[in-house]
């Protein structure tokens, strides 16, 4: 197993193929590889530590920071990352069907309004002091970055759980 070189941010080139997949040319390598990006710390440090993986899931490169990439590559990467990530941010809890699980929730998120089912009280967990992650019955994750920024009703509901 050859371990990927630690930081290739400055020398990696990225391109999009016509079928939509992402190609990367690593430093000192003439070959273009099909890759997909993944954040290593998606919740605590999203702008740094990006891994590029082959379609089989093997890591081929690690980028320490998005900022040090050339602008074009950074945009491509951001686009690709946002295409793979889906963590709506809950701005308001508008309705909860009851206080025993399973219960359904109606929420307003940064991606619009939606409704989901909470299966288990363990699916709500505290991440930091005030941030909370909610996982619905389908495994979709919703983030509350700061529960004290929510309105009184939403806060009260979150407080049942954390």
């Amino acid at each position: 197993m050859n371990s990927p070189a630690s930081d290739l941010s400055a020398t990696t080139r990225l391109e999009r193929r016509s079928d939509g997949t992402l190609l990367a040319q690593l430093a000192g390598d003439s070959e273009w590889l099909e890759v997909f990006p993944l954040r290593l710390f998606p919740l605590s440090e999203p702008q740094k530590w990006i891994a590029l993986l082959s379609p089989e899931g093997r890591e081929v490169a690690q980028l320490d920071s998005l900022e040090s990439l050339p602008a074009a590559a950074r945009d491509l990467l951001n686009e690709e990352l946002s295409r793979r990530e889906f963590v709506p941010i809950i701005q308001q809890i508008t309705w909860v069907s009851g206080n025993s699980e399973p219960c359904s929730w109606k929420v307003r998120t940064d991606r619009g309004e939606t409704e989901f089912v909470l299966k288990n009280e363990d699916d709500i967990r505290r991440l930091g002091v005030r941030s909370v992650l909610v996982v619905d019955s389908h495994g979709i994750r919703y983030l509350i970055p700061d529960r004290e920024q929510l309105d009184a009703f939403s806060q009260r509901i979150i407080e049942w759980y954390v």
Binding site: D19, S100, P102, R111, H138, G139, I140
Partner: protein, 746 residues
């Protein structure tokens, strides 16, 4: 195969929005193949749109756009790829390998979109031949979360699909199924309850004539027949004794009924659980299942015997009291009862707050306990890394949380009971005021007023218990719901309708065209092989290649999605499950010993085996020698709470267990993986005795253990990659060689 279905009936099965958007564009010759709803737009905002696949075109309909319909003619160049990643699904439409369009959706819609994509790719493939294979996109599969068998038309498991509604209170009514067996006792219980409540209402009623006809006339110096006084006193005593006796009877009868019902419930749930197919028991669920049978049935029992009974007698009492009061004096009764709903509402409000407080504090308590259960079993790690301080701090914080939430609850709790008494006092004060005024007006007697006071103070005491009813009902409904969730589950491995007795099988196994889907993932993708009676074959391959799934299919822990497995030429699905399994023996990587003696554990599959048979099985399994060294020999207790045995010793007991049942087909699932080389040699010797003359499928991690195998089947990605003898496979230089070399390096 191209049926022409009238356009209306095709479209009318679709949601109204889709019908409206499609009607203009839909061609008479088109027929509907699949529909998927997308719940995200291209910027991943929640928004509803649709993909509709017809026999000729793919339509994308966005009802939020004025010109929201886009269509693609199906052609062999078209293909659709889907991927699902952490809740977000992406479907990409490719035309001649160029990206044409992408769509986003959440995991909630993934099953339907994936089905549409499979259908599209299948339709496109068969375009040249002009026929659509109906079966191509529609084969049954298994739900990945509960293991239920899904029909082709139902891509999402109903049991695991989000149940939008909270546990319906109607599930409580389903308890009747268990209660009606005891209906006689229940009827008796309710009659006793009714009479007990009625008896409790007699004493205040007697105080009325006692005051008006005896005490007040006597005080005013009027002649009073003194015998009346004794009569009333006797009545008071009698009704008190009666209420006591009936109260005793009602509690006893109802407690007995509810214990019987919950015992029935426990038995039936556990029996049903044992009959469910293996996939229902995910590793994580053990605790949950145990608590469902234990504490949920207990909760239901409490609800039936205490809460429901209290509630029934409270309601009875309130109704009866209201009737009595209204009959004595309607005006005073109205004034008395008027504040009652308001007070009940107030108490209910405080109760809700209190309940949340209690929930929070129990949550905090749970968190504190989990800090301990985390750190104490891991104490060696904590000490090795010198992190005691940090663990102490973690506990201190959790404990502080407990303290804080308990203090908050106590604050509310301290406020609650005095408030109820205050409200009671105020209610009584109202009666005093209004009642006294009525007495001054000469409209009622003193006796009536005393009776009212006596009745009403009983009234308010019950308010508190009434306010708890709602929460208790919710809790019991949730418990019932969880129990019925188990009871409603059907085993996915079904008994045959017309079973064939397998008798004693010769042991020939044929695996033919077997495919197995686990949710949307196809784990076994077309496997064929035959094992002759008495043959030992090895099954190897990287982890995740489908080896264990394959033997689970042979044991009928799951049923195949497509294809069939034959034993002695008969489809194994035509045998009664129990009779078929009695022909199968299995030795697992992690042998499981039940709590009991060694002899009982060896005889687990044949409880009636003689001592002689047990001993010879143990000898054959090379277990006899170490059993002799145990303090109680074959009577030594093992399993949880019992004598601790090493991995190799446990494995040899489980081999003895398999030898004793004398199976025709033997499955060895990595039987020697968990032990060291020395122990492996002893186990291998035991296994050699076991496999004699039996059809054996041995999954092995260590290829060296398969030297005796007549053939080795190498699996990779759900298909058979190579078949052959050890040497042949090595010479071939394929997957097997790769696995072999990896082990040599290690």
């Amino acid at each position: 195969m191209n049926r022409t279905i009238p356009e209306e009936s095709q479209l009318s099965s679709l949601p109204a929005v889709v019908q409206a958007g499609l009607a203009a564009a839909w061609l008479p010759s088109e027929s509907l193949v699949a529909l998927a709803e997308l719940d995200l737009d291209s910027k991943q905002n929640f928004s509803r749109s649709f993909l509709i696949l017809s026999s000729q075109r793919l339509h994308f309909l966005d009802p939020n756009q004025p010109q929201g319909l886009t269509s693609w003619e199906l052609s062999p160049e078209l293909a659709m790829r889907t991927s699902l990643n952490a809740g977000l699904g992406v479907a990409r439409l490719l035309a001649s390998s160029n990206l044409n369009q992408t769509w986003n959706y959440t995991a909630a819609q993934a099953a339907l979109v994936e089905r549409l994509a499979i259908a599209l790719n299948a339709v496109v493939k068969t375009l040249g031949s002009g026929a659509i294979e109906p079966g191509s996109a529609r084969s049954s599969s298994t739900c990945p979360s509960c293991g239920a068998l899904l029909s082709p038309d139902q891509p999402i498991c109903l049991a695991c699909a989000p149940s939008a509604a909270p546990p319906p209170a109607k599930s409580l009514i389903r308890l009747w199924r268990f209660a009606h067996r005891r209906w006689g006792m229940i009827l008796f219980g309710f009659l006793v309850t009714l009479s007990a409540t009625a008896a409790g209402l007699v004493p205040p009623y007697i105080t009325m004539p006692l005051t008006d006809r005896v005490l007040i006339p006597w005080q005013n110096g009027q002649p009073v027949p003194f015998s009346d006084f004794y009569w009333y006193l006797g009545g008071l005593t009698f009704s008190a004794v009666l209420a006591w006796a009936l109260g005793w009877a009602k509690t006893y009868v109802m407690a007995k009924v509810s214990e019987l019902v919950s015992a029935d419930l426990r038995n039936e749930t556990y029996a049903h659980l044992q009959r469910l197919s293996l996939e229902f028991f995910g590793g994580k669920r053990t605790g949950d299942l145990i608590s469902r049978i234990g504490s949920d049935t207990d909760r239901i029992c409490n609800f039936l015997s205490i809460h429901l009974l209290d509630f029934a007698s409270d309601i009875l009492m309130i109704t009866l009291t209201s009737i009595i009061l209204l009959r004595i004096d309607p005006m005073l009764a109205l004034v008395t009862l008027l504040p009652f709903p308001a007070i009940a509402w107030l108490i209910q409000r405080v109760r809700v707050k209190l309940r949340h407080g209690f929930a929070r504090s129990s949550h905090a308590w749970g968190e504190m306990v989990s800090v301990m259960t985390d750190a104490i079993p891991g104490i060696r790690v904590v000490k090795a890394f010198a992190q005691e301080r940090r663990e102490i701090e973690r506990f201190r914080q959790a404990n502080e949380h407990v303290l804080e939430s308990n203090l908050r609850v106590n604050q509310l709790w301290a406020f609650f009971s005095p408030t109820v008494s205050l409200l009671t006092e105020i209610g009584i004060l109202v009666i005093w005021t209004f009642g006294a005024w009525r007495v001054f007006q000469g409209q009622i007697t003193v006796g009536v007023l005393t009776t009212f006071i006596a009745y009403i103070s009983r009234f308010y005491v019950r308010l508190d218990s009434l306010s708890r009813m709602l929460a208790n009902t919710q809790r019991a409904a949730a418990a019932t719901y969880r129990i019925f969730e188990i009871l409603d589950r059907q085993p996915s491995v079904m008994e045959p309708i017309r079973p064939i007795d397998p008798g004693r099988l010769a042991g020939k196994l044929e695996v033919s065209g077997v495919r197995f889907k686990y949710g949307n993932r196809e784990v076994i993708r077309g496997v064929d092989f035959t094992v002759e009676p008495g043959e030992l074959i090895g099954l190897v391959g990287p982890s995740g290649s489908g080896k264990s799934t394959l033997v689970n299919l042979v044991c009928r822990f799951y049923d195949v999605t497509e294809g069939a497995i034959f034993a002695d030429g008969q489809d194994i699905r035509s045998f009664p499950i129990e009779k078929f399994r009695s022909n199968i023996g299995i030795v697992l990587q992690e042998p499981f010993l039940f709590y009991g003696t060694i002899a009982e554990n060896i005889a687990y599959g044949r409880p009636l085996a003689t001592r002689d048979e047990i001993i010879s099985a143990a000898r054959a399994a090379h277990a006899h020698d170490f059993i002799l060294r145990l303090p109680d020999g074959y009577d030594s207790l093992v399993g949880e709470r019992g004598q601790s045995l090493s991995g190799g010793e446990r494995q040899r007991i489980s081999i003895a267990r398999a030898i004793l049942t004398n199976p025709r087909i033997l499955i060895l699932d990595e039987a020697t993986s968990a032990v060291d080389n020395e122990t492996e040699r002893v186990i291998q010797a035991a296994l050699d005795n076991l496999v004699q003359g039996r059809t054996t499928i041995a999954i092995a991690h260590r290829l060296s253990t398969l030297r005796n195998a007549s053939r080795i089947i190498v699996m990779e990605n759900g298909v058979v990659a190579e078949v052959g003898k050890h040497e042949d496979l090595l010479a071939r230089g394929g997957v097997y060689t790769r696995l072999h070399q990896a082990q040599l390096v290690n």
